[in-house]
Symmetry: C2
Subunit: 233 residues, 2 copies
């Protein structure tokens, strides 16, 4: 069954898909009166619906039932330095949505190889991933901000920085408590600078290891996302 994502959707007297989605439903999927679809608001609710006779206009539907997942008691926020190769950061976004993520931020680090990101494209990939994996939580996706600014304004409860050194080798899965609100910083291929690490420590980001091997930026991001989900399963 097809899943449609309608940000912030709430049932009303008349329910219809937005223009793009209607076009997709009626012209591409060729849905018609009586066909079942699912609609999610991206905030944990999914509605089982039935398409109503729409002719060629906006695709209308009536709601048959609603399911709202029980509220999650953990929140995953990953702040990552965009990779030089845009494909890789797009993979990261897609995989995290499949696995489960609540917020994604992009941070501009000293050694970042990329100075800008195509947020529109990333949003489209995120929506696609949501529909494909049939998840119902659409993450908040924030634009690129300087490292310093992100670190100074981060309000999550348990903050981590993906960082390995002789003195700091604690595995993320061992130091992150369950049922919490996490944020982890994932650095560029060239790693964080000593200055960035010091600033993060000053702001209570704990150093954490993502395993014994050296991971690419996007792999580290996915590993962190997966670990947070695992400790809460």
């Amino acid at each position: 069954m097809h899943l449609f994502y309608l940000p912030g959707f709430t049932p009303g007297e008349i329910n219809e898909l937005p223009e793009d989605e209607s076009k997709h439903a009626l012209k591409v999927l060729r849905l018609s009166s009586g066909d079942k679809i699912e609609v999610t608001d991206g905030k944990g609710s999914v509605y089982l619906c039935e398409v109503k006779d729409s002719g060629n206009k906006a695709c209308r539907f009536k709601i048959l039932s609603q399911f709202t997942g029980k509220p999650k008691d953990f929140f995953i926020h990953i702040a990552i330095a965009p990779t030089k190769n845009a494909d890789r950061i797009e993979w990261f976004v897609e995989k995290c949505i499949e696995i489960g993520i609540d917020e994604i931020s992009f941070i501009q680090c000293s050694r970042s190889e990329r100075k800008n990101i195509n947020l529109d494209r990333i949003e489209k990939i995120a929506v696609s991933a949501l529909k494909q994996s049939q998840t119902t939580i659409f993450p908040l996706i924030n634009p690129l901000v300087p490292f310093k600014s992100f670190v100074e304004n981060c309000k999550d409860d348990h903050k981590f920085i993906g960082y390995l050194s002789e003195e700091h080798k604690e595995l993320l899965q061992k130091i992150a408590p369950a049922n919490s609100r996490y944020c982890i910083l994932i650095g560029p291929e060239g790693d964080f600078t000593q200055e960035e690490v010091s600033l993060a420590f000053k702001k209570n980001f704990k150093p954490s290891s993502l395993g014994h091997s050296r991971l690419r930026t996007e792999t580290a991001g996915i590993a962190a996302c997966h670990i947070f989900n695992i400790i809460n399963s």
Copy 2:
């Protein structure tokens, strides 16, 4: 420092890189006498070496020191149905090598969308991933075989099938013991058939869940690989 992969390398009187690697070392990287390189045999040993005067011929080197990681007490084997989109399976191979994997098999399932794979290309991607992530274990990569044949001949100790149903919801991380030799079957986008699942059960593959969300084939493969590594960290 550059890492070169020489399958099955053992130090000798004269040590030199194979033709392709020599060309890369001398013409692309422009290494010369005195430059340091690392050489791995893909079986856990890495040698710190120094380039010797080679002129334009094969790049010769002398060994300064050797490091052999302590033998792993676990072994990860993932058998996966190749995805329709070749990028995705190549991405899976790359990520698993970064995270750590010992053997990769490709299985032809009833609902597989792809009937063949480009093993050469996959091997090249694997070698690239090994060098990039500086790991020293190169996995055994097996050609595509029919599901039935794989399941009947699999000799690993703890066998799993990525499969979710009402009766079976056990999480892989809860049922896989540490320090073991694992194999997990990852099915195609359309899932395993009932017949395939029954055959796997008969051959002692335990059903296991990879989490609460529905994962694409390549994501499921990476998640499984990551879980096996985590339970042994």
